[in-house]
Symmetry: C2
Subunit: 191 residues, 2 copies
DNA sequence: CAAAAAAGTTGAACAAGTTCAACTGGGGAA
DNA sequence: TTCCCCAGTTGAACTTGTTCAACTTTTTTG
């Protein structure tokens, strides 16, 4: 059953009974997206929070100069959301696009709120998920400041081999914060 | 009373009764730090989570090359912690140092856990605090990628005028991820 | 399959940022 | 007050990364 991946993910963070897991899952609806389809576009309000069952997504934003800036990629077993837009129902700064045909589980804002209300342990669950997320973002910032582009590139492909192998160099470059031409030169330099 | 600042901070995130606020506060113990004193040093285990009542702190790390890298500054009304080390009781990567004589409220790990247990709304409270924190870290990453150093400098001093005015340029440079010499050149260029 | 579009490569000129070293100036400690 | 230390400034040489444009290769689509 497709909910198993979600259940396994949740159990990594807190200890949940089978009944709790089933209740949580009951709020999530499966959905499919075709390659290049958007789950969210910049300027619109984020209606859904997602969990990836299969496929791969890219979360990115266009800055004032029109350059794409990739925040992160989400493959199987990753969460997918614009927290800010989802919680405050404000226009999103982010685009979320499927990089290949993908399957997700989605929960809308009302159901998420209902879930928080009906099952207090869900607050703990997401407290821990966000806590871990915050740590990763802090670490990424330190890497961005202390690693060279080359080091950041290697760190990325070594840490996420399954994700990075699916990506175009252009997308990796925008995640690393460098031009795709320069990434090409980095790769040439290695050989 | 010194706990008022903490109470006001907590109420910004969730609606809390007076009794709840008092209970939460009862877990926090006041402490003072002298200028240059450390609340945490890299390699040791983070025993305390803090909330700043007065003064200012710098949270930074030494990378492999020996360069200082500032994650953030915390002045009055800011939270102060190494989440990872505090939660998992693993050696910290971070240093937390008072930039001036400061006052904080501290809670240790056992009490934090007890607080989560005894008052479920605290889970919600920190779920929201971490959620907001995560959004700020995402935004900072995007700024680091899409802004020039000059733009990042202006954004920082305009967004945090009260904090940045207390800081040495060296510290601002390490927060921005540039050398202090280059920051000096940026400032010269403006005049 | 052929044509078109998009991704990747390369080079040259340029801009951004670092490093090192020398100098300036102010604040704290004895 | 004097000395010293440390923050900040400046210049020169260097490294890293960008931009633009031309080209090749791969992928998509009719």
């Amino acid at each position: 059953m497709s909910y198993d991946i979600l259940k396994q993910n949740l159990k990594k963070h807190v200890d949940l009974s089978t009944a709790d897991l089933d209740l949580i899952c009951s709020y999530f609806k499966p959905a499919g997206l075709r390659k290049k389809e958007f789950l969210l576009t910049q300027g619109s309000i984020c209606k859904m929070e997602g969990f990836v069952l299969d496929g791969c997504f890219r979360v990115f934003t266009f800055d004032k100069k029109g350059n794409e800036n990739t925040l992160y990629f989400a493959a199987k077993d990753w969460w997918l959301m614009d927290i800010d837009s989802f919680m405050n129902q404000t226009p999103s700064d982010l685009n979320i696009q499927a990089l290949e045909d993908s399957k997700v589980l989605l929960i809308d804002r009302q159901d998420k709120m209902a879930l928080y209300e009906s099952l207090p342990i869900v607050e703990k669950l997401f407290r821990i998920i966000f806590q871990k997320g915050l740590v990763s973002w802090q670490r990424r910032l330190v890497r961005n400041h202390s690693f060279t582009s080359k080091e950041r590139y290697f760190h990325f492909i070594q840490t996420y081999p399954d994700i990075s192998s699916k990506l175009m160099d252009k997308q990796i470059a925008s995640y690393l914060g460098i031009s795709h031409e320069f990434l090409s030169k980095i790769k040439k330099n290695i050989k």
